[in-house]
Amino acid sequence: MTGFDFTFFLEVLVGGLLSGVMYSLVAIGFVLIYKTSGVLNFAQGAMLLFAALTFVSLVERGVPFALALAITFLVMVLLGITIERTVLRPLVNKPPITLFMATLGLSYIIEGAAQLIWGTQVHGLDLGIDDTPLEISGILISKFDLFAAAVAATMVAVLTVLFRWTRVGLAFRAVADDQFAALAVGLRLPRIWATVWTAAGLIALVAGLLWGARLGVQFSLSLVVLKALPVLVLGGFDSILGAIVGGLLIGASEKLAEVYLGDVFGGGIESWFAYAIALAFLLIRPAGLFGQKLVERA
């Protein structure tokens, strides 16, 4: 390689890390639900689409930004509660794989409903942040990427605080450790689940807006879920820290590979490259990023 451009390399790296934060944000929605109910919620992407589509459609119909945000959040709360009532409760104590398949069904319903209600056309979403590059010590960084990363980081901080230091968080962790024990000491699982799904709905809303502003609000937004899955394989389904670090790792290596290896593979490798990284990593280090006690990923 002649004349390696280090500044360019840094730009790519930072860009990758920032988009990795966006992956992390989606992945955290999964982790939250996985930790408390042992379900890999495939519908997370559909929820993201649903939130973004609802918000953007409200704004397009003249609803003020803040009000639209509030209404969408309320809708996500209702969705969370409905999911708990109609899907999770009847399937309590079923094997995790059954619950996973139920969330697959759920994602079909939500995707279908979102587009049946709001239509299938592509909506632009403007959050008021222009995507001009910002120069920081010689490196060009997208302003929007920075904003998105900041929002994601804030979300992570808020969730961490909630999870660590509040009563609700304590209950979450109790449920995550042992559902039966939690039941025995009188924790009300349905309420906790409804809360968790609401929180996941909130994450979906934030992630949906950020990704929607980036990609346009349309059906393919729901496929963002496919970006988060390798992050989860890498970081562990039950680790928020893993989701963050995994997201950064995958974001960065994906961008770097696209730029530096793209020609070798003939481009378009982003659909599978993240999976290849996650799998290769697990082959070398089966315990995953943080050496979870399980040798085999169960």
Partner: protein, 348 residues
Amino acid sequence: MANVAAPSTSNSFSWQVPAWLAPLAVVVAAFGVVPFVASPYVIEAILLPFLALSLAAVGLNILTGYAGQLSLGSAAFMAVGAFAAYNFNLRVDGLPLIVTIILAGATAAAIGIVFGLPSLRLKGFYLAVSTLAAQFFVQWALTKFGWFSNNSPSGVIDAPPLAIAGVTFDGAVGRYLFALSVVTVLTAFAYRLVRSQAGRNFIAVRDNELAARVLGVPVLRTKLLAFAISSFIIGIAGVLWAFAYLRTVEPHGFNLDRSFQILFIIIIGGLATIRGAFFGAALIVVFPLILSRLGSAVFGTVFDSGVLDMSQRIVIGALIIIFLIAEPDGLAALWDRLIKRAHGRTEP
């Protein structure tokens, strides 16, 4: 999980007809009656996709239903089968169709083993996610490298004429008989397989991997075998999909939605039952047609193709959840119950 027990050799149901009689009757009717009564439309729009999807579901059921390894990448192996058959046919002069099909299945099996390797280390969701790698990688490779589609734009391939020993199967009925023969042979194979030692090993690994290992079941080999056989069958289902049903396909036709469709078939039909694959496929194929007729009858022109598409998604999603909640063993179990009840009524 119902119906994975051995064929009942006990005589607790003395009124029962021999177990092989019902499938035999179905096969005889499918070969002897259907070609004469089914219209070309029914064959093209219902029976051919039904046969291809049923076979794919039989294949996935071996991996997911019997061996307990959840795969979200079935469509990739259909694609491998279809494109492998296309290339064998194109590049090897005078290769008999049957050999082409077997080689296509073998190619899919080889790819299946490669993408099954993570199963030696990963379980459950981690494995399920890693099977997505197959889905995306295969789709990418087939689109990216023109060689696979003989450099046709966007990777579209056209099926060659179907002929075995000079007999061509090009009309609707011909392709139906061809697909039916392939499905019958492979289903019989799958049926025998799951009742053999290999099949017991699949179930043992699924139900308790540690216990199976300590008992001396070769767990790793069993998992890879499940991936190989499953991909072999799914690959041949892909050949049917491309050669007998659509006649012209592109990699995009084997996308993630197709993988989910096959997974839904085995959930609705019943995990770990061979019959379930056929029940589930029938529902998944016929149901959209009914929905579209029903929709336009009730809602008239409001029910356009977009609305149909979305309502299909909703109803299929709902069906999955309803089955998981109300009938986790699927249509196969429902069918058994109905039969039993019917018998109860006719008995004195």
